[in-house]
Amino acid sequence: MAVTALFGARVRRREDPRLITGKGKFTDDIQIPGTTYAVFVRSPYAHARLKRVSVSKALEAGAIAALTGKDLEGKVGAVPCAWVIPNADIKIPAYRPLAVDKVRYVGDPVAVVVAETPEKAHDCAKLVEVEYEPLPAVVNQEEAVAENAALLYDDVPRNTAFTWKLEGGDLERAFKEADIVIEQRLVNHRLQPAAMETRGVLASYDPSTETVTVWMTSQNPHIHRFLLSVMTGIPEHKIRVIATDVGGGFGSKIHAYGAEAVVTYLSKMLGRPVKWMETRRENFMATIHGRDHVQYVKLAAKKNGKVLGLEVKSYANLGAYLSTAAPGIPTWLFGLMLSGPYKIPAIRCEVVGVLTNTAPVDAYRGAGRPEATYLLERMMDILASRLGMDPAEVRRVNFVRREEFPYQTPVVVMYDSGDYLTAFNKALEKAGYNEFRKQQGEHRKKGRLLGIGISSYVEICGLGPSRAVRSTGFGLGLWESATVRVHPSGKVTVYTGGNPHGQGEETTFAQIVADQLGVSFEDVEVIHGDTGMIPFGMGTYGSRTTPVAGGAIAKACERIIEKGRKIAAHILEASEKDVEYRPGVYSVKGLPDKKVTIQQVALASYAAGANELPQGLEPGLEATAFYDPENFTFPFGTHVCAVEVDPETYTVKILKYVAVDDCGKRINPMIVEGQIHGGIIQGIAQALWEQALYDENGNLLTGTLADYAVPTSADVPEIELDETVTPSPHNPLGVKGVGETGTIAATPAVVNAVIDALSHLGITHIDMPLTPSRIWEAVEKTKSKR
């Protein structure tokens, strides 16, 4: 596909004028007269039997409605789990919208109250009486699978929801031939997504048409509509979900939750609009968390650093219920990434999915892939340290080479294209890696703790080819849709199934269409996020929107161009094969003056007279395309981080951060860079600060933004970016996706840098987050050994 004027241009975002003037329309910004307000009553216990829930006092005090879990039985069904991984003996416990009989995490909702104002609803919620019989709680996944651990469900022994396995290559042989075997336990701790807009919903039922309009914080309005229909019994075509402006998601707004379905049901029940917005505390308690693996890793290698095999057993904490995509995240999206950018002949992975008395865990930015990358990149450094090699050299020895693509990994996936070494060398050079190493020894002599860390990664993006996705047990294929409509005046509206919420595709997609159709950028409108307007679409997550939704748009444009050619040939009285197209203009081969513009073709297609539309051709100029990619896309790159650890306070200062990313072609480099910046800061935050914490009784200790350490502008470093460009050979636009790069690559780069700064003390690993107290403890331990 031709690269023309706007493809590759740093076009300012068309989303911005409304957002910088306060005219965005986020869910809570929608105000309808007569709206009532819902508040959920939530369990303060991590695990307890529900003896009694009484809402009578709330109703006496003036609540319009107040319902318990029992009241909802037969009215609002359980939240479906949509990723039923095969061959894993999976057990899916009922995930009720309001708990019945038992609560299983702090924040599990037990009742809902509706009143005329939000304040009144909160007052009434306080009057709901709940009697609990507390039960022992299990919080940690390794303790939860122990023989005598308390059980969340009587029919789920050892709290084990599934055991999943993946294997490729001859691992026994790898360990037999190894010169060295290293073993390491790694904790990839739990995180809270913390989108700045909490979750919320405004449902407005219209009895005259029996339809309900649901404004909600959604990354995927059609999937939510489908699941709302399943849960409430309201037919799918009678639900309209609107999620135009969404204040960040990072995965947390992909999933189905009980609250949105309950509010939708309440609106129908009351015949009035009902709004519910989470408080921040609820967001941290009851919106999904991410990560939370304990991994046991065994790696076999030769003396020269060549890795022969990798064996992983991971315990994934899934929380109290299986959230929408929960089973697939720590299994497929983790296991398929275990080869990373390296040639590893044999890999075996076993994942135990564990239910605990904590908030449900599901996809958070990166979703399985950061956990795999962290594992590999930590092991590469540990291997280097055991062999006395430079970490850079160990990676060089193992990279898949440019000429080896497409590359079949031992873990199912086939990488489309890559040039790992070039990006790697560029990153090291830009970061001054060799000079840093030379100076590091001098600094150490003076007592300064300086370290440099490398992280090389491959992502699996552009989710994804439907047959492959379905074979993993995911409920739907992950193709994407687009309608491109050229109006009689030649203006264009694009309807995309993707639902950008910060990623800027209102701009990116207008760039693609303006280029393809040869119309001006201003003449292209991009519509998303409203099931009443767009074709069925899968939404935005998994770095899929530009590659997959963009692919659908490119395909729809092609169809328009081809139909336009027929019309142009008719108008120009030429044979179709003699009509050439360059963006915006059809002309007759060899007669460049005999031409017609796409705007003229559009008008002719609607006017449809004898001289305008060929006999038998349908009027109109629009096309809908469903693009199902033939493979995933595999972006890659290398990040390098240099740090200094204060030898007295053990605080970590990032001195330099360099990222060289290859996400294929960049349609709008400004937007791509913004995605990388934001992801890197989230990745750094996991390495150094952020951690969702529960005490041993299952109380969430990080329930506010005062306790959960989302970084501020004063905490974070400047990032230096660079790129290499290796287009995806199978994507119509040559793009690969970039949304999760930062969280995947940054965390191990930072941790490797900090461990490097402490390596001369004999430290080879510290579990994240690398807070001063963690570092201090590790240093003290080495002192007692010495």
Binding site: D16, T21, E119, M670, D715
Partner: protein, 156 residues
Amino acid sequence: MSARVINLIVNGRKVSCAVEPRKLLVNFIRQDLGLTGTHWGCDTGNCGACTVLLNGKSVKSCNVLAVQADGGEIITIEGLSKNGELHPIQQAFWNNHGLQCGFCTPGFIMQAYWLLKQNPNPTKEEVREMLAGNICRCTGYQNIIKAVLDAAEKMR
């Protein structure tokens, strides 16, 4: 709780409203005045999405009661552009890709507006420090800092 009438000037317009004494300023601005550009993002005054100017000073409007603002003057994000012209700070956020989802943006712009009134010529480090009461989850702050420095230059 009985309502109390408060009088204030919001974005240059006189406003008189009866409010419950417990009503937060942020909810008053959003619900009673319909100015939904000021957002609400936490319960604890940490995120800064609700930042507005009250009597010339930046405040987190979730930490102020509406009745405390009685007799005062408020500027919200909606009051920043004049005659359809973007304020230089808004322009700079746009030019420098200083926003992604845009939810925190009005708070950042209002805080930057106050910051540049205090210090029209801040260093990069000063901007980082003075915006540390606002949280953005999308941008990693780099382009926000760039935008504020760019705006400062244009406004000098």
